[in-house]
Symmetry: C2
Subunit: 210 residues, 2 copies
């Protein structure tokens, strides 16, 4: 088994934090490159998926997508549960994880990939074809990110963690989204006090700070 | 418990097919409206989420997002398994379901919502704020959809179903994507014979044809 990763990028980081929370160690290779083509040429030539994280199983087949890789390890190692241990928890965690990804991580990703010159022709990850940047997505991404912050601040006024009483993958995706946004100087707005309280709490976890 | 739905739209249809496959019946209300604001005003006024499907639990709390609702019912009613019954299956199904959603359903949704005059100011679902259409996403959505078709045709040359030997949520999302694309005259290309064979197979299931 081998995990292809790029630990500073937000999607691979979701898996890194998840595995640390589980106490699971697996062989990994960091295939990230600063600047085009962003991933090592050898990795791109041998993996049509062209994105990380990517998990190669012992039978030679692959699991792609950060949350699918987490699902694999959650099923193998249910403790501590990070995707819920009953139907209600599982549904709520999946919901908030997907909201964090769609309303938060996708928003900041649109802002980032459409505004940086180094991503010209690569406005979406994983495509071998040229996909030109779309300037309108920069402003829209920032607008959506601010709505994400407001929604999650409201949720965290009522709950200790994003999906309720327990730390879960919903917290992991939310945290990786915020740290990625902070890198672009679009961190938590000053009026989101609940989100800031939660952020300081989860940032102290060894899986995050380590 | 109550499911708010709009059965002809692709995301609620994913849940409808899933529940039919499970043989689970729950009370539901169709809140769809043809033309703006697309969902009944009473539903929008009472549900900040502003999207369907949306499941209200007996404790008054909600689960949103099609796949999170499916996860809830998968955990309650594991048979027949539609999200995998071991780690490898669970990971592969989650991977292919997410690829179908991100590379397929999101692609045709971008094409659709950015090209139809009736969606002006509502380029993304669920936002109360005006989000203007972005014409570049029409062409990009169609280009991404064709790459999705090619990738899934290759996968289905090797496997009976999208994620392997068994029917799963990956098939459900793929099917709902294709039927939604066909509605915009962007159905399966003639050279995708494996995908067409699979499409004819799954379209015969009572959950799909009924």
């Amino acid at each position: 088994m081998k995990l292809f990763t790029w630990e500073t990028a937000p999607n691979p980081r979701r898996v890194k934090i998840f595995l640390d929370e589980k106490g699971v160690k697996i062989p990994s290779e960091d295939v990230g490159v600063t600047g085009k083509p962003f991933l090592k040429t050898e990795f791109l030539e041998n993996h049509g998926h062209r994105r990380v994280p990517l998990l190669r199983l012992d039978d030679g087949s692959y699991i792609a997508e950060a949350m699918a890789i987490c699902r694999y390890f959650e099923t193998l190692y249910p403790d501590p549960p990070l995707m819920g241990s009953d139907a209600r928890q599982a549904g709520k965690i999946d919901m908030w994880e997907r909201l964090a990804e769609w309303e938060g991580l996708q928003a900041i990703s649109e802002f980032y990939r459409n505004s940086k010159g180094s991503f010209s022709g690569r406005a979406l990850p994983g495509y071998a074809q040229t996909l030109e940047q779309i300037p309108e997505l920069v402003e829209r991404g920032e607008a959506r990110l601010n709505l994400f912050y407001a929604k999650f601040d409201t949720q965290l006024a009522k709950h200790k963690y994003v999906a309720g009483k327990s730390f879960s993958v919903a917290d992991i995706t939310t945290l990786c989204t915020i740290d990625f946004a902070s890198f672009s100087k679009l961190g938590i707005p000053g009026n989101c006090e609940n989100l800031q309280r939660w952020y300081e709490l989860v940032s102290k976890r060894p899986s995050v700070s380590g």
